[in-house]
């Protein structure tokens, strides 16, 4: 199936208009990043504590908020996440001087007080501990009468039983009642009732924690910045060597445009900006430059072919020739990303969003930003160098092609 064939669109005709549009988009992006929505900087860079929790009953965000208001960790961000029926919540607190390391324990203690008040204190919470603790409890109780076969055999047996119980917990997230344990193969009813007597089932479990201290946060910030800055520079140099400086400049302008516009939208939508997002932005940069390079490559080829043709015409011709490829590739990547966005889950969603928006913006920019800027750079330096004050067409014509 062939979508486009022999198109002849004058992309460069309204280049000034598109440059203004691009500048406005960048302006909106900057406004969103710094003033309006502000970037939702995650704990990777800001430092702080994040807990993923799963509850027995549906957690109420307001209740969680009021519980956490009293623990002295500042404003907590509380979100529901995951599927509606999984009763999961995410708590994030900002960095509080000197308290980062302990904040997890503070939060868990506060939640315990609120949610597990009815549970007998001091007992092991089977929803909170690991297999080894459960095995030790079972070993002490010896519900299956294995100690007659010797301590080691008994220990091995109860480690096995505890392992099976924990595997079950992995499946269900947390045990809502002791009945959840009864059906597990290899676990005897005696073992369950022994646990029931000696342990409790808490109303929530911590499925994940992240704790990032201030030092690491600032280091990751620095690393992220340098990763982006240096990869931009690296690509500029590569394009400079392979093509010409003006093309390098055009490609990097397109890139910066893409990053700022996408980042702006990202801020408007309130996604969390974290390490994964940096990866997404670097990929977006790679994609955007790739897209631009394909067009520049064609421009270079056509410049060699017809040396007398004005650069602006060559650009138009090249963009038209590669248009079908630009759209087809964008389409296939968008399909893969759409799958990621809808099915990849919460953690990957921010990533997929960046790439999705980035590919749309990147495709636009390789046509309407990169080439116009390469042309603009050309004109600007031509005027500055006080060569002929001629229009771009003749100016480009006069410019010898290096390769």
């Amino acid at each position: 199936m062939e979508l486009l064939r022999d198109t002849n669109i004058d992309f460069m005709k309204y280049r000034k208009f598109w440059i203004i549009v691009s500048l406005v988009l960048v302006g909106i992006g900057l406004f969103a990043i710094f003033f309006h929505g502000k970037l939702n900087v995650g704990i990777d860079f800001a430092g702080g504590t994040q807990l993923n929790l799963q509850f027995r009953d549906k957690p109420e965000v307001d209740r969680l908020r009021s519980i956490l208001a009293g623990v002295g960790l500042g404003d907590a961000t509380i979100q529901r996440f995951g599927a509606e029926d999984e009763n999961e919540a995410l708590i994030r607190t900002r960095l509080v001087e000197g308290k980062t390391e302990g904040s997890r324990d503070v939060i868990v203690a506060a939640l315990n007080k609120a949610y597990n008040a009815d549970q007998p204190a001091g007992k092991v919470d089977v929803n909170g501990v690991g297999a080894e603790s459960v095995a030790a409890l079972l070993f002490a109780a010896d519900p299956d009468n294995r100690k007659v076969q010797g301590e080691d055999a008994a220990r091995a047996h109860y480690e096995d039983v505890a392992g099976k119980m924990m595997a079950k917990r992995r499946d269900v997230g947390l045990f809502t009642s002791w009945n959840d344990l009864s059906g597990v193969p290899g676990v005897s009813p005696q073992a369950v009732s022994a646990l029931q007597q000696r342990a409790t089932l808490g109303a929530f479990t911590v499925t994940g924690t992240e704790n990032v201290g201030p030092q690491i946060g600032s280091e990751l910030r620095k690393q992220g910045f340098w990763a982006v800055a240096l990869s931009l520079l690296g690509m500029l140099v590569y394009i400079w060597i392979r093509f010409e400086l003006r093309f390098g400049v055009g490609a990097i302008m397109a890139c910066i445009h893409d990053v700022l516009v996408t980042l702006g939208l990202f801020a408007l939508f309130g996604f969390e900006f974290n390490l994964t997002t940096i990866a997404a932005f670097l990929t977006l940069i790679g994609y955007s430059v790739n897209d631009t390079v394909v067009i520049f490559d064609r421009i270079r080829e056509n410049m060699r072919k017809s040396r007398r043709k004005p650069l602006i015409d060559i650009m138009n011709e090249s963009i038209n020739q590669t248009l079908s490829r630009t759209i087809l590739t964008g389409g296939s990547t968008l399909l893969a990303l759409a799958a990621l966005l809808w099915l990849g889950g919460d953690v990957i969603r921010g990533f997929a969003f960046v790439m999705l928006v980035g590919i749309l913006v990147g495709t636009y920019s390789s046509i309407y930003v990169a080439s116009p800027f390469a042309l603009l750079w050309e004109q600007y330096f031509a005027v500055k160098g006080e060569r002929r004050a001629a229009p771009a067409r003749t100016d480009a014509e006069a410019q010898p092609v290096r390769r």
Partner: protein, 519 residues
Amino acid sequence: MKRNLLWRGLLILSIFAAAVAAAFPLDKKINLGLDLQGGMHLVLQVHTEDAVRAETDGDLGLMLQQAQKESLPVTGRRISDTAFEITGVTPESRDKISDLYDKYLQGGWDSDIRPDRATFTMKPQYVDQTRKLAVSQAKQTIWNRIDAFGVGEMTVQESSNNRIVIQLPGVDDPVRVRNLIKNTAFLEFRIVRNGPFPNRQAALASLGNPPSGDAEILPEDVRDKADASKILETVYWVVDKQRTVTGRDLKNARPSRGQLSEPIVEFSLNPQGAEKFADLTGNNIGKPLAIVLDGRIVSAPRINARIRDSGIIEGGFTEESAQDLSTVLRSGALPAAITYLEERTVGPSLGRDSVEKGLLAGLVGTALVVLYMLIIYNLSGLNAVLALALNIVLLFGGLAAFGAALTLPGIAGVILTIGMAVDANVLVFERIREELHAGRTVRSAIDLGYEKALSSIVDGNVTTLIAALFLFQFGTGPIRGFAVTLTIGLLASMFTAVFVSRWMFDLVLSRFRIQKLSI
């Protein structure tokens, strides 16, 4: 031409076979990152200044001890983490101090010996050495502790700035592991002078006025006999400041059970420790002996007889805490305090969730791309799909060969590679179409298509590779996984989309006379 085809085919086949051998079975060969498998990632800061200070204290003690042997009436004090001074030096004792310096301190210390005082400053390289040693000791100690806990595969690595990075896949009780690692478990035995008192003030009052300098007050938590985790009250004891026997004198420690089958810790002492312990207990029969852990009294049993080389610690342990204390005592003390700079744990259920979602997204994404290519390019699309399949196999083979872990961002990287791998095919196919429109034969259109698209493909991939390399250089953890995936994916896609896909065209063209290309 035919032979050329054969060789190319064999090369492709052997690379394919190598990738399959490296990557399959997938669940055995591909490491999942902590974010997918569940587990713990910790970054610890070792406060090496503690070790440096301890070294300074130790050498100060050594000098004073030797000076005492020579009957020199000097006193000394530490003036900073890396320096101490000896005062009371007389013109007569100056040479002797100088001799002692030559004998004991010269290697690591700079000296400034004056008529009335001597100052010793640790040499910078010795400070460095002490710090490095502290980090590697801490690493070893932590390794021993986690190993005793039985976590399975783990990595404990030293990193820059006196840090230690710990990766523990599959840990199911992160809180316990975290406390185990950080546990200082500084054990000491002190003779009790007086007590217990219900509060600190009462204990302080018993010290007299002015309070005597060789005693101090330590708290004890009195626990419920039936439930060791419940603290009933806190009482205070007055104990000797002097610590003769400490955890360093231990030979072994293990959890055991007391008379009422309550959890206790049994310990035994090494020969020097036993000597000191025998003296301590022998001279204080009838007095309570405080067993102190991290500045809190665990229990204070009465000394009934002289004890030499073993004993028990009882006093409100749970099964777990007895086990953990034994582990920590056995593994030795940490040479310096540590703090957690970064801690990430992913529960196994969260990780599994991510794997399932990532897999589903991957399968659907791949299916969509395959369908897309078949619709757009018909039979040539099949060529691209085969190249893509090989690309994915190579990608996993590469991941396995480099031992790189597949992380959640890594899965995103795989999906992205799939999306972008077809870019090379699209470039070539579009070029072939152009050449066909220009009226060329199938054979020359294919040749020219690959030839002309090559520079675009290389330039595009190299620029993305540059981004991936910087990502690898600056990224940590999951991000590195992503960079590795992307790099392998890009290299693999250049190979499959240019070399393999071309070979398939050539193969078909050599067998059939094709007048019209399905593209």
